[in-house]
């Protein structure tokens, strides 16, 4: 009987022991880093071997699809398993994570390795500020995202089109300064050439699609939450105006724009199928390998709204971006920090920019680098200016909840199932409830 029982349970015991052994072995000398799937992870992969060789620290890199990043990270943080040593995420979550005590403050490590990191080299402004919460630094700046405006230079410089446009609208056809002009131009170009549509932008039901829409909302003076007081400051007038502009844009966008994520929007702009587009500033569009319209595209700062004194008020959003942070539960904090700062170094940022990964720089020295200037071409000045005046995502705790609610409500407006005003009221009510 004893032999029978032993036979019954022995395989299970062996399996469990083997698994336990593997887990312990893996934990003892590996730094486990987590990145969003896509271009972001390429920098980590590129610098992995060098880091392992120089430091004798073994790295394992895990990729998580962007749509599942939040749930995976929060689940890990709540269970405190210590499985992750360095994590990449969007700055919008930093306040909530820091407030909940999930992240390790990095001030001491930044001070210790200050000469190697050169923190003063990071551009001042929101990208850098996004790594700080209530006076403490929790993140390493990684990807400097900002939205800019793209247009088909060849169409905008076409003499016949310029003449026709001026005759119709009474002003010159050029990169638009205001959202009203964007609408005129979207109407003008929609169908003017075979397969050509007016404008493309991300309009899927996604949290960061709200950032795209915020290009208009911010310009009309709208904001979401006062970071200092935590008060909701939703602006009904700006909300309705922005939705009115967005709905007009949808009419002149490619079919199916309500399902446009980054890939679809990038494809429309990069292949020249639209006269205009809203998208992150990225070398992807000047890279002949990735954009067939690379020599036709012009770049401008996000349009705005004309003020009484005739000046234009612009407020380009800084949706998404990325920071690297270290979970409190990590047992390899310093090792993880070293790898994180390597990925945020001048060298890594230059490599990321020139290689077309979509991970964009935020160090002054990188902007001055000749290879980067060559890669960004005309876009570099637009990118840098936008980065300096950009408006950050919601950063207060519960930001993911705020975005989940507003993205659903806005999508109801864009798909015609709810009025803009009703969506405003519902969003406000639900936000207050949080």
């Amino acid at each position: 009987m004893k032999i029978f029982i032993l036979k019954l349970f022995l395989p299970s015991i062996l399996m469990i022991s083997l698994n336990l052994g593997n887990t312990l072995m893996a934990d003892s000398h590996e730094v486990h880093v987590v990145f969003q799937t896509g271009g972001d992870v390429l920098v980590a992969r590129e610098f992995k071997d060098r880091f392992e060789k120089e430091t004798k620290i073994k790295l394992s890199i895990e990729e998580i699809p962007g749509g599942n990043l939040y749930e995976k990270l929060v689940t890990e943080f709540i269970t405190k398993s210590g499985a992750y040593d360095l994590v990449e995420f969007y700055p919008t979550w930093l306040g909530g994570f820091a407030e909940a005590g999930y992240l390790e403050p990095l001030d001491d490590l930044f001070e210790k390795y200050s000469s190697e990191i050169d923190p003063d080299d990071y551009l001042e402004g929101v990208q850098n500020a996004a790594t700080v919460w209530k006076g403490k630094r929790y993140g390493i700046p990684y990807d400097g995202d900002v939205l800019i405006f793209y247009y088909r230079k060849d169409l905008f410089e076409n003499k016949q089109y310029k003449k026709e446009f001026k005759n119709t609208y009474g002003y010159e056809l050029m990169a638009p300064d205001t959202w009203d002009q964007v609408l005129d131009m979207a109407v003008f170009f929609d169908g003017r050439e075979k397969g050509l549509k007016g404008i493309a932008m991300v309009s899927m039901r996604l949290w960061w699609a709200v950032g795209y829409w915020s290009s208009v909302y911010y310009a009309y003076g709208g904001r979401y939450i006062d970071e200092n007081t935590g008060d909701i400051v939703l602006n009904r007038d700006a909300w309705n105006k922005a939705n009115s502009v967005w709905l007009q844009m949808i009419k002149h966008a490619p079919k199916g724009v309500l399902n446009f994520g980054y890939t679809e929007s990038k494809e429309s702009i990069g292949s020249g199928k639209v006269a205009m587009g809203i998208q992150w500033a990225t070398t992807v569009f000047v890279d002949p390998r990735q954009s067939s319209a690379h020599d036709k595209l012009g770049f401008a700062m996000m349009p705005g709204v004309k003020k009484a004194d005739g000046s234009i008020y612009r407020a380009p959003p800084l949706p998404v971006g990325k920071v690297l942070a270290i979970p409190k539960s990590s047992s390899n904090k310093e090792k993880a920090f070293k790898f994180g700062t390597l990925l945020s170094s001048k060298e890594a940022q230059i490599w990321a920019t020139v290689s077309g990964t979509g991970v964009d720089p935020n160090r002054r020295s990188v902007f001055e680098d000749s290879t980067v200037k060559g890669a960004w071409k005309d876009m570099i000045s637009v990118y840098r200016s936008s980065l300096e005046i950009g408006v950050a995502d919601i950063r207060v705790p519960n930001s993911a909840k705020y975005y989940d609610i507003i993205s659903g409500e806005l999508h109801s407006v864009w798909s015609g199932t709810k009025s803009s005003n009703d969506a405003f009221v519902d969003t406000l009510e639900e936000w207050k409830d949080l």
Partner: protein
């Protein structure tokens, strides 16, 4: 060892499994439904604040819940009915005459079943694509305007039903085909001798004798469709707006996007109670009386 302990010992693994993976999560979620989860204090139920029925009150006051419920019911009723009709017709056709091709046909029909639901959803998302999708390619080549299957609120549920039907009609077909095969030849022959035509044989012999298989097929598909998540995630993300958001997707958003775990647990329990009642009614209606079953 005393022989009387052996049965208990043999039952031990399944008992442990049931307690750990079924009973414990059920009890945990039942208590969680009356708690407010706080990310700082973690997952211990003892550290969570008890909020009574507040989670249920919040859910019943949320428009998105009713929209999700309506969408789920609509997709379930239309989808399962269509699948039942199709599968019944296919099973009858397969049963009509067994040839050397019957096995091949059945294998081909069953192919969608082996695909993971997420993979099916992503494949269909590409097929439905308004610009590059094969379906719209065919529609455009016939001279019609392309159809916005996943971006039009009036079409999106039909598109999900189509994918669900494509993947799950084979399962119902398999169950009904097995049911048809189990009907004794003598009964069919006796009905012919009594002068019954094809229609009356179908209505008074075949369908009544298929009540068990139909009940099983319906129960499997209704419970499955009730918790539909994969297609919604892969095809639409619940959009446009909330027009394709199902209850399971609503639970996911509450639980893993907003981490309102108490509310997510309360919706899960509401879902469980509703589907339990529906299944009981269905069994009551369709269950053959004693002596009718095979």
């Amino acid at each position: 060892m005393n022989k009387k302990y052996i049965p208990y010992l043999l039952m031990l693994p399944i008992m442990v499994y049931t307690l750990l993976l079924i009973v414990y999560p059920l009890l945990f979620s039942a208590v969680l439904a009356f708690k407010k989860f706080d990310p700082i204090s973690g997952l211990s139920l003892f550290n969570m604040k008890t909020v009574g029925f507040k989670n249920f009150i919040k859910i019943f006051g949320d428009n998105a819940f009713y929209e999700s419920l309506f969408n789920t019911v609509e997709i379930l009723i239309i989808g399962v009915l269509v699948q039942l009709i199709f599968s019944f017709l296919i099973a009858l056709a397969l049963n009509k005459k067994t040839t050397i091709y019957t096995g091949t046909a059945l294998t081909l029909i069953l192919t969608p079943l082996v695909m993971p639901m997420v993979a099916s959803g992503l494949t269909w998302r590409m097929l439905f694509h308004i610009e590059y999708g094969a379906i719209n390619g065919i529609i455009s080549s016939l001279g019609f305007n392309s159809v916005n299957f996943l971006g039009d609120p009036s079409l999106v549920k039909a598109s999900i039903i189509l994918v669900d039907t494509w993947q799950w009609t084979p399962l119902m077909t398999l169950i009904l085909f097995a049911g048809l095969k189990s009907i004794p030849e003598e009964i069919m022959e006796a009905s012919k001798v009594d002068g019954a035509n094809s229609l009356s044989t179908l209505l008074y012999i075949t369908i009544p004798l298929l009540r068990w298989p139909i009940l099983v097929a319906l129960l499997i598909r209704i419970t499955d469709a009730w918790k539909m998540f994969d297609y919604v995630e892969a095809l639409t993300g619940g959009g446009p707006g909330y027009s394709s958001q199902t209850l399971s997707y609503y639970v996911y958003l509450k639980g893993f996007r907003r981490f309102e775990l108490g509310q997510a647990a309360s919706v899960s329990w509401i879902m469980l109670i509703i589907i339990y009642i529906v299944c009981l009614i269905l069994v009551k209606i369709l269950k053959p009386k004693t002596g009718e079953s095979f």
